[in-house]
C-alpha cells in the first residue's frame, strides 16, 4: 500500500516534533530564557541612561545587548520560528532562501515596532501604553491567525498533490491514452514559497506583530530624546532574533534532508515532498492555533 509511506512520514514528523518538545524541558528553558532576558533588560536600562548623559560608547553596548536580547527572546513564542521552521521543512526552499526570508522577516518585525511607536504616537496620537496593548491584544492574535492560515494553505496544497498522485496511480496509463499523467508531483509543484507573493505573505504574517521589548526600547529612547539610538538598537534586536530563527530554519532544512535520505531507499520517494509539506503545514497550524487560543 503506497499510502503507508507518506502516512508514516507524516506521523513520524509529528511524533519527532512532540518528542523534541518533551525532551527539551520547555519549562526550565522558558524560565532560563526569562531570567536571561531580565538581566539584558536591566543592562539595557543602564545603557539608555548612559547614552542620555552623553556617553557615546554606550550605544555600542546597547546594540550588543539588544542583539543578545533578541536572540534569547526569540526562544519564546511569537517570533515566527514555528512558521520559519515549518516552512523550511515543508517547502523545497534552499537554505539560502530560508536565510533570506528569516532575515527579512525579523528586520520587518523591527520596522513594524518603529512604525507603531513613531507613526502611532505622532499620527494617531496613541499613548505608549496603547501601542503595547495594540500589539499584545490585536497584532499578536492576528499574526498567529495569519500563520495558521499559511499552515493550512501548505497542508491543503499537499493534500491536492496526494489526490493527484492517488488519481494517477489508479489509472492504468498506457501510451494510447496519451494522458500525460505524471507519476509524482515535480519539485516545482510542491515548492511553496517560491513566488514572491507567497514570500511576502510569510514575511508579513511574522512582521505584523512587533516585539514588545522593542516597543519599550523605542518608547524609552524617545522619552530620553535619543530616538535614533533606539531605532538602531531595535534593528540589532531584529538581527539577534534572526540569528536564533536561522537555527530553527536551518534545522528544518536539515531535517528535510534527513527524511529525503531515508526515503531514497524506498520506492515511496515520489510522495515525500508532499508528505513533508503536509506534516509541516499541520504542525504550523496546530502550534499557531494553540498560541492563538492562549491570547484570546
Amino acid at each position: 500500500m503506497r499510502l503507508i509511506f507518506p502516512i508514516s512520514i507524516f506521523a513520524a514528523s509529528i511524533c519527532i516534533a512532540a518528542a523534541v518538545i518533551m525532551l527539551v524541558d520547555t519549562t526550565a528553558l522558558t524560565y532560563w530564557a526569562a531570567q536571561q532576558q531580565r538581566v539584558f533588560q536591566n543592562a539595557m536600562a543602564g545603557s539608555l541612561r548612559a547614552i542620555q548623559t552623553g556617553d557615546g560608547m554606550a550605544l555600542w553596548s546597547l546594540c550588543s545587548l539588544t542583539f543578545a536580547y533578541g536572540f534569547v527572546h526569540a526562544i519564546g513564542p511569537g517570533h515566527g520560528k514555528v512558521l520559519l521552521g515549518g516552512a523550511a521543512l515543508s517547502s523545497q526552499s534552499t537554505l539560502r532562501r530560508m536565510t533570506l526570508l528569516t532575515l527579512v522577516s525579523s528586520l520587518a518585525q523591527s520596522l513594524t515596532a518603529i512604525i507603531i511607536v513613531v507613526g502611532g504616537t505622532t499620527l494617531l496620537s496613541l499613548s505608549s501604553a496603547d501601542a503595547v496593548n495594540l500589539t499584545e491584544q490585536w497584532l499578536a492574535p492576528i499574526s498567529y491567525a495569519a500563520i495558521a492560515l499559511i499552515g493550512l494553505y501548505l497542508a491543503g496544497r499537499a493534500g491536492r498533490q496526494f489526490w493527484r498522485l492517488g488519481h494517477s496511480a489508479t489509472h492504468d496509463c498506457n501510451a494510447a491514452c496519451g494522458c500525460g499523467h505524471r507519476h509524482g508531483p515535480d519539485l516545482q509543484e510542491v515548492d511553496a514559497l517560491s513566488n514572491w507573493r507567497e514570500m511576502v505573505m510569510l514575511v508579513a504574517s511574522i512582521a505584523i506583530r512587533p516585539c514588545t521589548g522593542a516597543l519599550f526600547l523605542l518608547v524609552i529612547a524617545w522619552r530620553f530624546q535619543i530616538l535614533p539610538a533606539g531605532v538602531l538598537a531595535t534593528i540589532t534586536m531584529g538581527l539577534g532574533t534572526a540569528a536564533f530563527n536561522l537555527f530553527v530554519a536551518g534545522s528544518g532544512v536539515g531535517l528535510r534532508g534527513l527524511f529525503r535520505g531515508a526515503g531514497r531507499t524506498s520506492n515511496g520517494l515520489r510522495y515525500l515532498p508532499a508528505a513533508l509539506q503536509l506534516a509541516g503545514g499541520v504542525l504550523i497550524t496546530l502550534l499557531s492555533v494553540g498560541m492563538l487560543l492562549q491570547t484570546l
Binding site: T27, W32, A34, Q41, M44, G76, I220, G290, M291, Q294
Partner: protein, 214 residues
C-alpha cells in the same frame, strides 16, 4: 505508545510550556497581616519593578516632567494611583488560599509608592472579607500573572505583620527540576484519561509564601 505521544503532542501544543513570554519583571514580597486580636486580616504585597520597566513607566505615567531623573511627591502619587486603581476582575496577580480554599480579596488599601535605587516600587494591602482566626490553619500566597506577561520572583523570606503568635512563614521557591518532575507526573497522568486542570503558565513559575499557625 502512540496514544501517549499524541497526548504529549496535544499538551505541548495547547499546554502552556511552549508559550511563555514575560516582559515585565517584578521583585515581589508578601506579608500576612494580623490585627490586634491576632486574627488574619489580609496580605500586604510589595512590588519592585525592574529598571527597564521603571523607565517605561516614566513614559506611560508621564513622570519626571522636569527631566532630572528623580521622582517628586506628585510623581509618586501618580504611580500609587496608577498601580492601585484596578479594572474590574483584576486580582492584582495576588492569589491567596486558606486551608486550600481560594479567598476573595478587597481592592488595594493603605497603598504607597516609592523609588528604590532607580526602581519604582509600590506596596498595598488586600483584605479578606472578614478577619480570620488562623489557629491550626495554613495559608498559601502566590503572586503570579496567569499569562506570565509579568514575571514575579520573591527574593525575600516572606513576612508576618502585626500580632501573630505561633505562626511561621517561609517561601517555596520555583525549582526547574521539581517542575520537570511535576510535568512528567502530569504526562503520566494523561494515560489515565485526564488532562491536567492547571494549564496556567504563570502558576507554573509561581513561588509560594506559606504560612502555618499552631
Amino acid at each position: 505508545m502512540i496514544r501517549t505521544l499524541l497526548l504529549a503532542c496535544a499538551i505541548s501544543v495547547f499546554g502552556p510550556a511552549v508559550n511563555a513570554h514575560p516582559h515585565i519583571f517584578v521583585d515581589a514580597d508578601g506579608g500576612f497581616v494580623f490585627n490586634e486580636a491576632g486574627q488574619l486580616v489580609g496580605v500586604r504585597v510589595f512590588w519592585l519593578y525592574d529598571e527597564y520597566t521603571t523607565l517605561f513607566l516614566y513614559d506611560t505615567l508621564d513622570l519626571d516632567k522636569d527631566g532630572d531623573g528623580a521622582l517628586n511627591e506628585a510623581d509618586l502619587e501618580k504611580v500609587r494611583l496608577g498601580e492601585t486603581t484596578w479594572e474590574p476582575g483584576y486580582e492584582g496577580d495576588t492569589h491567596l488560599w486558606i486551608e486550600g480554599e481560594k479567598q476573595a480579596l478587597s481592592q488595594p488599601l493603605a497603598s504607597s509608592a516609592q523609588m528604590v535605587k532607580g526602581r519604582i516600587g509600590v506596596s498595598f494591602e488586600l483584605h479578606l472579607q472578614a478577619p480570620l482566626d488562623m489557629a491550626g490553619r495554613s495559608a498559601s500566597l502566590k503572586l503570579y500573572d496567569p499569562i506570565y506577561y509579568y514575571a514575579y520572583s520573591i527574593p525575600s523570606e516572606g513576612r508576618i505583620l502585626g500580632n501573630a503568635s505561633g505562626c511561621h512563614v517561609w517561601v517555596n521557591r520555583f525549582n526547574p527540576d521539581g517542575q520537570t518532575a511535576k510535568l512528567q507526573k502530569e504526562l503520566a497522568a494523561l494515560s489515565r484519561e485526564d488532562m491536567p486542570d492547571d494549564l496556567n503558565i504563570g502558576a507554573k513559575f509561581a513561588e509560594e509564601i506559606a504560612l502555618q499557625c499552631d
